[in-house]
């Protein structure tokens, strides 16, 4: 981890500008480049430089926040004034859990100088490598890389910072009647091969021509890591944080300790994993913990922040999954979910399915019923039939409305290989996160309708 210390110095100046009983400041610094392309042409190429301070002040038990990217002294004074005004406008907050006391945070990986120093020209060249690797298709996607730093300082004396890098290549290779998808993410750009990503997408696209339909109903299926990652993420934000658990909205509400899933299913949240997108602490400055959420099919725990831990009472502490104060209404989020791999090769997964559906990725998911873990969405860019234990003919895009718990209850196998899949859509400030998942084979993936054929 390298940093010139400027972000931490800014966080320190920011909280000291506050007139308050307590205060903390979260600084987020970003420099990133997005070499986006469409139809193999450069499209929306974007270079971003920003730094943002989120200041939280506490005055007589009242909490107020101000956010600014005007980081000179006058800007910080103005932010402090507005945060104080916000606090004074509210009644005391009985749920306020105090600021993080001074504490050691774990050393983590996640910063790569080569990635941090990529120039816009090199980002554009990486996009060009992808485009040139798939000359027979229109290529749609991006190469992006960024360096970000999060620094937190507070009146308790807590002071932490972390510099992170991330890079992603994403490609859809498409024609009028075909489309295939691939992506790769790492905090080291040297581990990415944009051309290989494009080739994977092109090879997948070549197999999607002449897609047919399949009857609605519950089918056995293989979900590639891209697809399973998205389904898990939607289940995760609706059910695996402490807030929905405490409020009775989560699938796990009242069910912790029960065996809810196949015994081969173990799910953790691990921000410390050097092969993921590592984080040393959350956005309250709480050290990250590895949390076992499901172990051998038994629901064990969810992720916590300081506020939900206080609300739950004795025996509960923050696991390092809090967001910044203005976003605390979402509750803590599991941003580093990881499903343990299994024992199967891709061919063995298909054999276990026998007859069913092969799904590359999903599109536009919606949680229909969080209490039942019911999620709807479409398959996209590579859906196939599995016949006699082999992946065979292409299928049109399919609408599914399926229960995540039933899907895992009906587990047929997990691939040995586990893949990091980016989950950030890069809205607002860049904060890299993703899931690590295997491919999954299940007996229970419910199709409720058919959509269009692959292709543009």
């Amino acid at each position: 981890m390298t940093s010139d210390g400027r972000a931490l110095e800014l966080a320190d100046r920011a909280w000291r500008a506050a007139e308050a009983d307590e205060a903390d400041a979260v600084v987020h610094v970003e420099q990133s480049g997005f070499a986006r392309f469409a139809a193999s042409e450069v499209h929306q190429p974007t270079l971003i430089r920003d730094e943002t301070v989120t200041l939280r002040v506490v005055r007589d038990g009242r909490v107020g926040c101000a956010v600014t990217n005007r980081t000179h002294d006058e800007g910080l004074r103005e932010a402090a004034r507005r945060a104080a005004e916000a606090a004074d406008s509210a009644p005391p907050d009985p749920g306020y859990a105090g600021l993080q006391p001074p504490s050691e945070v774990p050393g983590v990986a996640g910063y790569d100088e080569a990635t941090a120093s990529l120039t816009p020209e090199e980002q554009a060249a990486s996009a060009a490598q992808a485009i040139e690797a798939a000359p027979d298709y229109g290529l749609y996607g991006y190469f992006t890389s960024g360096v970000t730093e999060t620094a937190i300082a507070s009146s308790t004396g807590h002071s932490v910072s972390q510099q992170m890098t991330d890079a992603s290549a994403l490609a859809i290779a498409a024609s009028g009647d075909s489309s295939g998808y691939a992506e790769a993410t790492s905090w080291k750009t040297g581990e990415l091969d944009p051309a290989a990503v494009a080739l994977e997408a092109a090879e997948k696209a070549a197999r999607t021509r002449g897609a047919g339909e399949i009857e609605a109903g519950t089918h056995a299926a293989i979900l590639e890591p891209y697809a399973f990652s998205e389904l898990l993420w939607y289940f995760g934000f609706s059910s695996l944080g402490a807030l929905p658990l405490l409020e009775g909205r989560s699938y796990l509400s009242g069910r912790l300790g029960e065996r809810l899933f196949d015994e081969r299913f173990t799910l953790i949240d691990d921000g410390l994993d050097p092969t993921g997108l590592p984080k040393a602490f959350d956005l309250e400055g709480v050290p990250k913990q590895r949390v076992t959420i499901v172990e051998d099919g038994v629901a064990k725990d969810v992720v916590w922040d300081r506020r939900t831990a206080k609300r739950a009472g004795e025996g509960h502490v923050s696991t390092g999954h809090g967001l910044t104060a203005p976003a605390q209404g979402f509750g803590p989020l599991p941003l580093n979910l990881c499903v343990m791999g299994g024992d199967a090769s891709p061919d063995e997964l298909a054999e276990r399915v026998g007859d069913g559906i092969y799904v590359t990725r999903l599109h536009y998911l919606g949680v229909v019923d969080p209490r039942e873990g019911l999620i709807t969405g479409m398959t996209r860019d590579g859906t196939f039939r599995i016949e006699g234990g082999k992946v065979t003919k292409p299928l049109v895009n399919l609408r599914f409305t399926t229960s995540f718990p039933k899907l895992i209850e009906g587990l047929l196998g997990l691939s040995e290989e586990v893949v990091l899949v980016n989950r950030s859509d890069f809205y607002d400030e860049r904060y890299p996160f993703g899931t690590k998942v295997p491919a999954v084979a299940t007996s229970a993936f419910t199709i409720v309708g058919t959509g269009s054929a692959p292709g543009l």
């Binding site: 929306q44 909490v63 926040c65 005004e85 509210a90 959509g451």
Partner: protein, 481 residues
């Protein structure tokens, strides 16, 4: 801000840009959220910066910098040119051409009686707490209220001579009641789901929502849903209230008529469109009752402006007339590709994102008659209200939406309440089934602040005016079995 934009343009053109535009933006947002009678969040956010977009040898580049200073403007311009030049040399690439547009000079400010940002935060907190109190019910376990206010200043200059300044104010509010009993969870919201409704208007808009008056009904309906029967499965007649109709229009008409999606340039994220450029003037989108208009001049609309983020003047254009596709939402680049118009739908999220083709205000024009007239012609059907879940495919054809509440309709009358209602369809088939649309009296304007698109992602604020509508032969009650 305008001077800085001018400086950025000068640097960009001197560095080799054949075209350049620059936007300097300041944005201030207030957000108040209360939950179960306590304040959850009171926050004030501000952001400012400058974004420079250039064409070098017909290739785009964009760069931004948070510093509203000569140094920030200069560096953003130089970096935008360098990024464009890095891709401009690729062999065989298409040169971007822009449809001609007048170089406008002008200013615009949102008409507002009371600037919502100047309303004291304490007044906003008190409003939320009062509204929440009205939703109390023994089965309602979670009540929430939110208020937001925003002021944004946007300066724009282009190398073609455009010189613009616009100031927008927005505000909005919403309440939610979550009833929970014996493992069952039911939600009701007002005036709209997913954070309420907003308008480009003064604080008088929030006062007009009258959250306190609606709160008891919201709480009671959430509790009643716990005991309601589930929506049955089958093919039937569906009546959508104006609020659910907003989402239907947004997802199945707004997004597919964005011309960048039609040309495939959003394939990597939001998706494409089932529409093709040649469909203009001939494709049957829906029944004769279907008339959809894009209007960036609608009073109170979140997509209202004098000039879009390419400097193109606001206007009103038909998108669907009597069920036939008549227009696309476009930019100067996509208008040049299709050879018609000059854009007018380009919008960027703040200073740090490149403008995209976005909805402005997209309205389903009203029909005739009352809501009761719609129901009167339903022998057996379901009336659905307020969005709960949504999903639609990448071409905007196959959709599945869920609503918070529904009622059975028998022999033209509202009957028993139904929970967990969902419906699914295919866009032109569904709109083809539209055989009743309420008149202007029931037409309402809603403002959404959560429309996502682009990579890196951008949020857009858009409005839709709609009335309740009746659709025949709709699949309802989609569940995992």
């Amino acid at each position: 801000m305008r001077d800085l934009c001018g400086q950025a343009i000068d640097v960009a053109t001197a560095s080799g840009a054949g075209y350049a535009d620059s936007r300097a933006v300041t944005r201030r947002v207030q957000h108040v959220a209360t939950k179960n009678g306590e304040v959850e969040s009171v926050s004030e956010s501000e952001t400012e910066g400058i974004g420079v977009r250039v064409l070098v040898d017909g290739a785009w580049g964009f760069a931004c910098d948070r510093r509203l200073s000569a140094e920030g403007a200069r560096e953003a311009a130089e970096r935008a040119v360098a990024f464009a030049r890095a891709s401009a040399g690729r062999a065989g690439r298409r040169r971007v051409e822009l449809a001609p547009a007048p170089a406008e000079k002008g200013e615009y400010r949102t008409p507002a009686k009371r600037d919502p940002v100047d309303v004291p935060l304490s007044e906003k907190v008190e409003l939320c707490l009062r509204a929440e109190a009205g939703m109390k019910h023994e089965d309602v376990k979670i009540t929430e209220a939110t208020v937001r206010a925003q002021r944004e200043e946007r300066a724009f200059r282009s190398s073609e001579g455009a010189d613009l300044f616009q100031e927008f104010v927005e505000c909005g509010a919403g309440i939610d009641a979550l009833a929970i009993r014996e493992g069952r969870v039911q939600l009701r919201s007002y005036p709209s789901a997913h954070g309420g409704s907003s308008a480009q208007a003064g604080w008088e808009y929030v006062e007009g929502l009258d959250l306190e008056a609606e709160a008891p009904r919201v709480g009671e309906e959430a509790a009643a849903l716990l005991r309601a029967d589930p929506c049955p499965s089958g093919v039937t007649t569906v009546v959508l209230d104006s609020e659910q109709m907003v989402l239907q229009v947004h997802e199945s008409v707004g997004h597919p008529t964005e011309l960048d999606r039609v040309y495939g340039t959003e394939a990597a994220y939001a998706g494409t469109s089932f529409l093709k450029p040649g469909d203009l003037g001939s494709l049957r989108y829906g029944s004769e009752l279907m008339n959809v208009t894009a209007d960036s001049t609608t009073p109170g609309g979140l997509g209202t402006f004098a000039y879009d983020d390419e400097g193109v003047p606001a206007g009103r254009q038909p998108v669907v007339e009597a069920g036939v596709l008549r227009g696309f939402l476009s930019s100067r680049e996509t208008a040049a590709l299709i050879g018609a118009g000059h854009g007018g739908s380009m919008r960027a999220d703040g200073w740090s994102r490149m403008p995209l083709v976005r909805m402005t205000n997209l309205h389903l024009e009203p029909g005739e008659g009352s809501f009761d007239d719609l129901l009167a012609d339903v022998d057996d059907g379901i009336f659905m209200c307020t969005n709960k879940s949504w999903s639609i495919d990448d071409k905007r054809l196959n959709f599945q939406f869920g609503t918070q509440i529904a009622w059975e309709v028998k022999h033209g009358k509202k009957g028993r309440m139904l929970r967990d209602a969902t419906y699914t369809g295919v866009t032109p088939v569904f709109w083809g089934g539209l055989d009743g649309l309420a008149g202007a009296e029931g037409w309402q304007l809603y403002g959404l602040t959560n429309c996502g698109k682009g990579q890196p992602g951008q949020h857009a604020h858009v409005s839709h005016g709609t009335a309740a509508g009746r659709f025949r032969n709709v699949q309802v009650g989609v569940r995992d079995v």
